[in-house]
């Protein structure tokens, strides 16, 4: 983990309430897709954790949904502005555990980390496929970016206004040998139940620190107590107690 000042390169709206932001700064601490950053915002005490969607030597892309004061403030930030960020938090997805044909499953703002993961899987010589779930057509983002990677991509919408009608689990048709998932808890549970293979799931929890110091985000697993922020956010399917 590092603490640093990151400059906003752009901050643009993807859908009604989802934004994409590019931050320029040191990415040396990023070691795996699915890690996250923790952002300090003026006037708010706790930092706000947001997954790394994509990164390179110069900076980081994040995608966030406006849900409260912090994300609202973030959406109002201007290019050129500096943000105090803790970077490279969490374990992230272990690409070496993934199969040749891993399905990456994202739901809503669980989609962003799947993009960086898909790229990392390709880089490791694997052939990921993607299932991206949204509520409705207007809320879809990043489908084109996944397709641009040359990845087989299925989009689901709950109301059927685009792609496959239903949930991500309704689109797990192609054969796959491993899965990685990030999204709301009900989605993770459904994926957990619908998948036959091993896999990795990324969790959310309210955080005090984001780097393992406060025990604010603990959960019980079959392998013992874990801190979502440091020992997670990615857990193995086999260790989850459901």
């Amino acid at each position: 983990m590092t603490q640093g000042i990151y400059r906003i390169e752009y901050n643009r709206r993807l859908t009604a309430d989802v934004w994409e932001m590019r931050l320029t700064g040191d990415t040396g601490a990023v070691t795996a897709p699915g890690q996250f950053i923790n952002i300090k915002l003026e006037g708010l005490f706790l930092r706000r954790p947001i997954s790394i969607c994509d990164w390179d030597g110069e900076g980081i892309t994040i995608i966030y949904k406006v849900v409260g004061r912090g994300t609202a403030a973030l959406s109002g930030a201007e290019p050129g502005q500096d943000l105090d960020v803790l970077c490279g938090l969490g374990n992230g997805f272990d690409v070496s555990k993934c199969g040749e044909r891993t399905v990456v499953i994202g739901g809503g703002v669980g989609v962003p980390p799947m993009y960086g993961l898909a790229k990392a899987l390709q880089k490791a010589g694997k052939t990921p496929i993607a299932v991206l779930g949204f509520n409705k057509k207007e809320e879809i983002f990043y489908e084109d970016q996944f397709r641009a990677l040359g990845i087989e991509t299925t989009v689901t919408t709950v109301d059927g206004s685009y792609g496959v009608k239903g949930f991500v689990t309704d689109a797990l048709r192609s054969s796959y040998d491993y899965f990685c998932a990030c999204g709301p808890l009900p989605m993770l549970k459904a994926v957990y139940n619908a998948t036959a293979t091993s896999g990795l799931l990324s969790f959310e929890e309210r955080m005090g620190c984001g780097f393992g110091a406060c025990m604010g985000c603990s959960c019980k697993t079959k392998y013992g107590n874990k801190r979502i922020c440091k020992d997670g956010p990615v857990l193995e399917k086999e260790e989850i107690i459901w």
Binding site: Q3, F45, L46, R206, M215
Partner: protein, 305 residues
């Protein structure tokens, strides 16, 4: 050259800055970030006789100028702390550490302290009788002078290490509790623990924390902490470790003027992981700015004159 050193019960600290229990784990996460030997010392995560998972999540909430936590004393239990954490700590920290202890009965406090008493690395015991986040214990002991005195006496009998009783701010008269601890043999007092508080989630219309209530800390509580340290300073002759919302070198000085012999920094570590290192770096300049040559000399300075 200004002198930042202070002493707690005969043990000299290079500076008065002490990360507070529960916000610094057993040191490992911060040792990855900076050399924690720059600290005066640190107070490790509240340790109990048996391992505890603590409360269900969510355990954390944001508040104006602060935060709530209801961790509920998650810790691996004293035996594992001695067997695993202390040896690990020895690798990264060569100063005496402050052992923070909690319990649910006097017997538990005594047993845990007796075990830690044998550890050379432990410089002081900080006995938490003020945790608002566990039911049937903790804070109850800190809520009355009599109960506080009872724990103090029992623990003192079980250890030769200096004993600092960590007091609850959720009382009508904290000075009376501090005096009772002193009379029962405490070597010092630590204050404040968190203020009992609550947030309600407007979406679910239920308390935000799974535990219902949580403990408020962070800058919001700073002036309450200063007042309590000031009051306790007038009531006792033993050293006070002051804390509550401290986030800067200026805050450390203010706490010491109120009467603190050393100062703990809690919530600030969580949002600014380098804050204790930075405070220690900033202290000499802040001292010069306010004409202070020796921190020891300013302890309780606001009471004179």
């Amino acid at each position: 050259m200004v002198d930042t050193s202070v002493a707690l019960s005969g043990i000299r600290l290079d500076n008065p800055v002490i990360p507070a229990s529960g916000t610094f784990g057993y040191g490992a996460e911060f040792a990855e970030l900076y050399d924690i030997n720059c600290l005066g010392t640190f107070s490790f995560k509240g340790t109990t006789l048996s391992p505890r998972f603590g409360n269900p999540t969510p355990r954390i909430a944001e508040t104006p100028g602060g935060m709530l936590n209801a961790v509920g004393l998650q810790n691996p239990g004293v035996e594992k702390v001695i067997a695993e954490e202390l040896p690990r700590l020895r690798e990264i920290f060569r100063k005496p550490v402050m052992a923070n202890v909690s319990g649910f009965s006097i017997d538990e406090y005594v047993q845990t302290c007796a075990l830690l008493d044998k550890e050379e690395q432990v410089g002081w015991l900080e006995v938490n009788i003020s945790c608002p986040n566990v039911h049937g214990g903790g804070m109850a002991f800190g809520s009355s002078p009599e109960a506080a005195a009872e724990v103090t006496r029992a623990v003192k009998a079980a250890t030769k290490k200096p004993v600092y009783m960590k007091l609850s701010p959720n009382v009508t008269d904290i000075a009376a509790v501090a005096r009772a601890c002193q009379d029962a043999g405490a070597d010092g007092v630590s204050l404040i623990n968190t203020l009992l508080a609550m947030r309600i989630d407007l979406k679910t219309k239920r308390p935000l924390l799974a535990n219902g209530t949580g403990g408020l800390s962070g800058p919001a509580v700073f002036p309450v902490a200063v007042r309590m340290v000031y009051q306790v300073y007038e009531a006792v002759d033993i050293p006070i470790i002051g804390m509550g919302g401290v986030s800067s070198a200026e805050d450390v000085i203010e706490m010491m003027l109120a009467g603190a012999a050393a100062v703990e920094v809690g919530a600030a570590n969580l949002v600014s992981p380098f804050v204790c290192r930075d405070i220690i770096r900033d202290l000499p300049e802040a001292m010069k700015k306010y004409g202070i040559n020796s921190l020891t000399e300013i302890i309780g300075g606001a009471h004179h004159g």
